[in-house]
Symmetry: C2
Subunit: 282 residues, 2 copies
């Protein structure tokens, strides 16, 4: 059963005139709850604030969002939280209302369990055919216009394939349908530059932080499938899965090397300490 709050009240009744439904005019963030602790909630609230600003939407107070989260976690110790903010109910027409009343939808979904081997032995990955359109004004934002990802994810139903990598319109590597991607090559970490499309994940930001901590030089740049083929290690991240090493990509095998192991360990420690701090604070 999915617990849901709309504007702080338990409800499954959304006004269909909400601009989130009319135009996908909103943003979201997704994070796991483990042992009662919403992991990296602060970072997710920061991201919502940043994305709202980018779309010219006011952001509800942190207090309101944190109250929603506490309400949902009263009776649950595990699950996946999804926080959605939309530009509220508006008339017909694209023009945003001058003073939008933001809609807050916070849902607690059941925890997802991926095979343990995904994190330990790595995953099989493919390339998607559909490309990501380039739009600097929307790049980086986790907005509610996700048809490209829907079409990409519908390209395969082989359960052995855990994720699909997406290229942009010009053929550069950007991300997975639900993950960010990192390559390890000759002692450096490479990740796609997300200035023209793609989503800047919360876990991606943590990997950038980890690189500094661990002393790995990290570069954001335009990468191609050739860069991927030439890489020694490849790994994927998102808030729900943490880090998955890539084991196979379209026939090419990768080993789980030193870098992947170090980043996985760093993220695990960081997750553990974030969770302990949150427990103490809670």
């Amino acid at each position: 059963m999915i617990s849901l709050l709309i504007d702080g009240r338990p409800s499954h009744r959304l006004n269909p005139l909400d601009r989130g439904f009319q135009y996908g005019d909103g943003i979201f963030s997704t994070l796991p709850v483990e042992e009662g602790v919403p992991l990296f909630l602060d970072q997710h609230l920061d991201r919502l604030q940043r994305d709202a600003l980018a779309l010219g939407m006011p952001c509800p107070s942190r207090g309101d969002l944190m109250t929603d989260v506490s309400t949902l976690l009263k009776h649950h110790r595990r699950g996946i939280l999804k926080l959605q903010l939309t530009r509220g109910v508006g008339g017909r027409g694209y023009r945003p209302p001058e003073h939008p009343a933001i809609t807050r939808v916070v849902a607690l979904h059941p925890a997802v369990t991926f095979p343990e081997t995904y994190a330990t032995q790595g995953v099989e990955v493919r390339y998607c055919h559909i490309r990501l359109g380039l739009n600097p004004a929307l790049a980086g934002i986790k907005h509610m216009n996700r048809l490209e990802q829907v079409l990409a994810r519908s390209e395969w139903d082989d359960p052995a394939i855990a994720e699909g990598l997406m290229l942009d319109y010009e053929g550069y590597l950007i991300e997975g349908t639900m993950t960010n991607v990192f390559l390890v090559s000759q002692g450096r970490i490479h990740t796609p530059q997300l200035d023209r499309c793609g989503v800047r994940g919360v876990m991606r930001a943590l990997v950038l932080e980890a690189a500094g901590d661990l002393g790995w030089p990290l570069q954001e740049s335009r990468l191609t499938p050739d860069s991927v083929a030439a890489a020694e290690e490849v790994f994927l991240t998102n808030s729900v899965i943490g880090l998955w090493p890539v084991r196979t990509l379209e026939g090419r095998q990768y080993t789980i090397g030193k870098a992947t192991l170090e980043f996985r360990e760093w993220l695990r420690n960081r997750t553990r300490s974030a969770s302990q701090i949150a427990s103490i604070a809670g």
Copy 2:
């Protein structure tokens, strides 16, 4: 007051887990109702069917949609109909359900009244800064991922400006935020090729038909702001407004010439006869 049917029943309560709200995973079509007649309903239903197919969604039966429309029109003679179809309620995750239960949302909004001069003397138009991303897989489809249009329409609030023209990522002219665009130049009609982005409007298809009828050569191609500056006449179309001549665009003045007048007349006649046929059939 807006009358609304969800899956055929009067309701303002949409399940927030609907993929239309989660991902903008759906399509829509908008048309005016005049004297009890939904104008070009057949063409709009055709378009929904075509767009559903393009996104790999089943389309509800025409009968169901027509019943919804009749229900809403029982007590109203005028208004704007918006028909939305989404890939229904699904779990978390981009992957579409194997057998989606499509959600049908049909709404009757109040009629909009634009100044009469818009159609008779033309409108003032600007260029938008935000560009349209290129994605052939979504091009032409009136889908529910409309953030680009929302951001474009929020670029100006001068009520004297009736519409904003949008270029694609590479700088080619595509459309207005809510209209398709046509240029008249040296005896030919030009309209942007919509194979990489943009929406194929129902009224646009009628203009293509009109060109054949009226003997105007019409070309779909890559057009630039230079093509617009060099054109003798420019006009905009959509289902709700019909045809608006462009009077001013960023300082450049246009006259309402022979071509614009002929197309406007053709569309008016076609609308009148479509409306009469629908009245008799109804």
